[in-house]
């Protein structure tokens, strides 16, 4: 039996799909092209193989995701990860939260912020800049968005410039998207322990 993980963790779980991923041997030419399958690249995650059921979306989603999280300039990568983590905590997407908490800790070379958030929840004690970033991303991630002028004013007074604020909007909104795929189409599990 596999164990479904229900608590936030920085240890990235295995993602187990609830639908059957595309089987590479049955994949269409369009699916193979979107998956960038080549003789030397046949290792594709079950998540991406699941998304390959909707190949037109997959084709546009991957470059958009990378541009929002990794393009140069604007907000630091670690702070974009904090926006992603806030959304994932609102939507209780354990898998996304694990991946992006781990990346935040890696980029910051510190587990301090993510330890506090996982231990104390959204009210964890953060420095003023992280506080403004996290609160805005949480409010924007509610449905409908609960972000208001007071959240924007807090970002500006914490010293974020307009380019950084735009990147925060994009990275936290992006996880409104990612969470609705990861948390809906599959679940985070701990693989069964090998006995003996």
């Amino acid at each position: 039996m596999t164990e479904v993980i229900t608590k936030f963790t920085r240890t990235v779980p295995h993602w187990q799909p609830r639908v059957k991923p595309v089987d590479l041997k049955d994949a269409s030419a369009d699916q193979l092209a979107a998956l960038q399958v080549t003789p030397s690249n046949t290792k594709i995650s079950e998540y991406v193989l699941t998304l390959a059921h909707d190949v037109e979306s997959l084709q546009v989603r991957s470059p958009l995701f990378n541009a929002i999280m990794y393009d140069r300039g604007g907000m630091s990568r670690a702070e974009r990860e904090l926006g992603a983590l806030a959304a994932s905590m609102v939507n209780h997407c354990i898998y996304c939260a694990a991946v992006h908490a781990a990346r935040h800790a890696d980029l910051e070379k510190s587990t301090d912020v993510t330890d506090k958030l996982f231990r104390d929840g959204a009210q964890a004690e953060l420095d003023p800049r992280d506080r403004a970033i996290f609160d805005f991303a949480v409010a924007l991630s509610e449905t409908p968005s609960q972000a208001g002028p007071q959240h924007m004013a807090a970002l500006i007074s914490a010293g974020l410039d307009e380019a950084e604020i735009l990147d925060l909007i994009l990275s936290s909104a992006l996880f409104g998207w990612a969470n609705r795929l990861m948390h809906v189409l599959g679940e985070p599990v701990r693989p069964p322990k090998t006995v003996g």
Binding site: D54, A67, S145, M152, W177
Partner: protein, 155 residues
């Protein structure tokens, strides 16, 4: 830039330096809207039905003008834009309930919700298509809400 997100946020004409600096992202966002609303391989969900779901979700996010814009392409499904409609008239109650839960109560979606769609005869590919439509809109509607606040914050 002529994109749904920028126009809806009131930034279609003079988006400003920050948005111009991320022009590629806004163009890709528009391409993603095309891919979920008007895909060539639309599976079980016609372009009209997709527009109706988009209109419904936009209303759940309090975006009335954008909802009306989507509903104009929803043809016979336009009434589904109203959250009070449960989809029973079109035999879509299971699908509509699923879309509502994914849009507004994501954290409580469970394996049983996917199993319910499968039991109703929805293929796995069509389940992924529903999720991509819903998930993209969750992104775009938040970008719009955020941009509007940013515009006012720097006014």
């Amino acid at each position: 830039m002529n994109t749904t997100a920028l126009k809806s946020a009131g930034l279609g004409n003079a988006p400003g330096d920050a948005v111009e600096g991320r022009a590629k992202i806004f163009k890709m966002t528009q391409a993603a809207e095309e891919a979920v609303l008007r895909p060539q391989d639309y599976g079980r969900w016609s372009h009209e039905l997709r527009a109706a779901f988009a209109a419904r979700i936009a209303l759940q996010y309090d975006e009335r003008a954008l909802s009306d814009q989507y509903a104009a392409s929803a043809g016979a499904f336009a009434s589904l834009a109203e959250p009070s409609q449960d989809g029973a008239d079109d035999g879509l109650e299971t699908v509509v309930a699923f879309m509502d839960k994914v849009a507004t109560d994501t954290r409580n979606v469970t394996a049983a919700d996917i199993a319910g769609l499968q039991a109703a005869g929805i293929s796995d590919a069509d389940i992924v298509r529903l999720c991509e439509l819903n998930a993209f809109l969750a992104y775009q509607l938040r970008v719009i809400a955020g941009l509007r606040l940013m515009k006012d914050g720097y006014a």
